[in-house]
């Protein structure tokens, strides 16, 4: 039986974590390679790097980080942020990432999804969707709209329509981020998560709102997600990955627990 995945997300700028990670035990680290190694040891099922540098120089630094991470951890990891061309995808995958994640670049140019899937295989192409709850309307019948720039720019695209469209174009997975829930620690946007998981057949990673392990259980049961993305609750040592997995296991969710 397939396990539900727990995926820590690390934001990187110019090769360093944007916020130092403070694990239980008070270790404060700014190095994404070291931090990825620690999450690997703790039983993360996958790791997501989000490169918030947009410059060409920043991208080069990120590729070096990717190479080092690929020689340190032996689980899949994906890289997102700033990837907007086939060439970006190729260089990131060649540096050792398992998957690349496209978000606003795919909204602006949906062909990049099919081109990436054709060139590297669907399994490499994750589409990140930033979604905001809005009034239902003719243009947005589901009441969920695609936004970019951290929610500042509305795209007038229905999130349900877009999810089906990225699947049709060959995306291998969707990372579904609720802008409303992001940072609240009140739990994932379950209604949105269920809406999308009921309407696509590719795996969906729930993102935004994790405050405790019960939220992760909800995301993968009520929400139907294949995986849950987590950030601050592990970065600041509120919960460790083994604690989260133990909680999920006790709640009857199949998770990978045999990492030693």
């Amino acid at each position: 039986m397939l396990s539900k995945r727990i995926i820590p997300c690390l934001d990187v700028r110019d090769g360093f974590l944007t916020k130092g990670v403070k694990f239980k035990g008070n270790v404060d680290i700014g190095d994404p390679v070291v931090t990825a190694g620690l999450y690997y040891e703790q039983g993360a099922d996958e790791i997501v790097f989000y490169d918030i540098t947009a410059s060409a120089e920043g991208r080069k630094i990120m590729l070096k980080v990717v190479e080092k991470v690929a020689s340190t951890i032996f689980i899949p990891f994906s890289v997102g942020g700033g990837i907007s061309s086939l060439e970006d995808m190729r260089s990131t995958l060649l540096s050792g990432a398992e998957k690349i994640s496209v978000n606003s670049a795919a909204v602006r140019n949906p062909d990049i999804i099919s081109q990436g899937a054709e060139a590297f295989g669907s399994q490499c192409v994750v589409v990140g969707m930033d979604v905001l709850k809005v009034e239902k309307s003719g243009a947005i019948p589901s009441g969920y709209e695609i936004v970019i720039h951290g929610g500042r720019k509305h795209m007038g695209i229905d999130a349900l329509w877009w999810a089906r469209e990225v699947e049709r174009l060959g995306a291998g997975e969707i990372c579904l981020n609720s802008i409303d829930a992001d940072g609240t620690k009140n739990g994932y946007e379950l209604e949105l998560t269920r809406l999308i998981t009921d309407n696509v057949r590719i795996p969906v990673i729930a993102s935004g709102g994790a405050g405790n392990p019960a939220h992760m259980v909800e995301a993968v049961t009520l929400g139907g997600a294949s995986a849950a993305l987590i950030a601050s609750i592990v970065h600041y040592g509120e919960y460790s990955i083994p604690e989260i997995k133990e909680y999920m296991h006790q709640a009857g969710v199949k998770v990978r627990t045999d990492w030693h």
Binding site: M1, R5, A70, S71, F74, Q123, G172, R201, S226, D258
Partner: protein
């Protein structure tokens, strides 16, 4: 030295990085003499069966690989590499190497998981293996260990070769082969500690046989 077969089918570097990490000497190659002089061959791969076979045929690697297997060179096929070892794949209706009788099929969209939800395709993530036979590559790996899968097609080898079964909507064969020739649908190079242990067990076998 372990040869990593280069037939332009992705993920060669992740296998190489895993072997480097384990201090196992290795070389990515498509040269017949290097393949012949290696102690064992890893046949990796991500992508489609059709283009993989075209690339293999271009360099007559299909003949080389078949003759090396017949001569007893230890070989480990991973993911697409495991599928190509069989007779044919439904993916691109490709005729494959035919070293082990069998074929590949696509996961049906009519399959449901244990909780009654339609399965996601691809099968992506960590799953366990139920062993039908002992396999030296899994020595010292705890029962119930999970491995990283990502695929939409699954192998159906001749039942005589089935080593392990994984459940995803149905029970499919995730490990098959015979001593010296193994194929696995998951990625040991991306499966954490148990996956790395498979690679080092394979190397130990190659050293013993050499």
């Amino acid at each position: 030295m372990i040869a990593i077969l280069d037939y332009r089918a992705g993920n060669l570097t992740s296998v190489k990085r895993a072997l480097d990490h384990l201090n196992i000497p290795n070389e990515i190659t498509n040269h017949e003499d290097v393949l012949r002089s290696s102690k064992g061959i890893i046949f990796p791969g991500v992508g489609a069966a059709g283009s993989a076979m075209r690339n293999l045929k271009e360099n007559r690697l299909d003949h080389t690989i078949k003759s090396l297997i017949l001569s007893g060179k230890p070989m480990l096929g991973i993911c697409l590499g495991c599928q190509v070892i069989l007779d044919e794949s439904r993916e691109n209706a490709a005729k494959t190497l035919g070293v082990i009788p069998g074929r590949c099929e696509q996961f049906s969209r009519d399959l449901y998981d244990e909780s009654g939800q339609p399965i996601n395709i691809p099968h992506m993530g960590w799953n366990s293996i139920q062993f039908k036979k002992e396999c030296s590559l899994f020595e010292d790996i705890p029962q119930g260990s999970e491995f990283y899968f990502v695929h939409s097609y699954y192998p159906i080898p001749d039942p005589a070769y089935v080593i392990g079964i994984t459940h995803y909507g149905l029970g499919f064969c995730s490990v098959f082969g015979r001593p010296g020739l193994w194929a696995m649908q998951f990625h040991p190079e991306k499966s954490g500690r148990p996956g790395l242990k498979i690679l080092s067990n394979f190397y130990s076998y190659c050293l013993e046989k050499a």
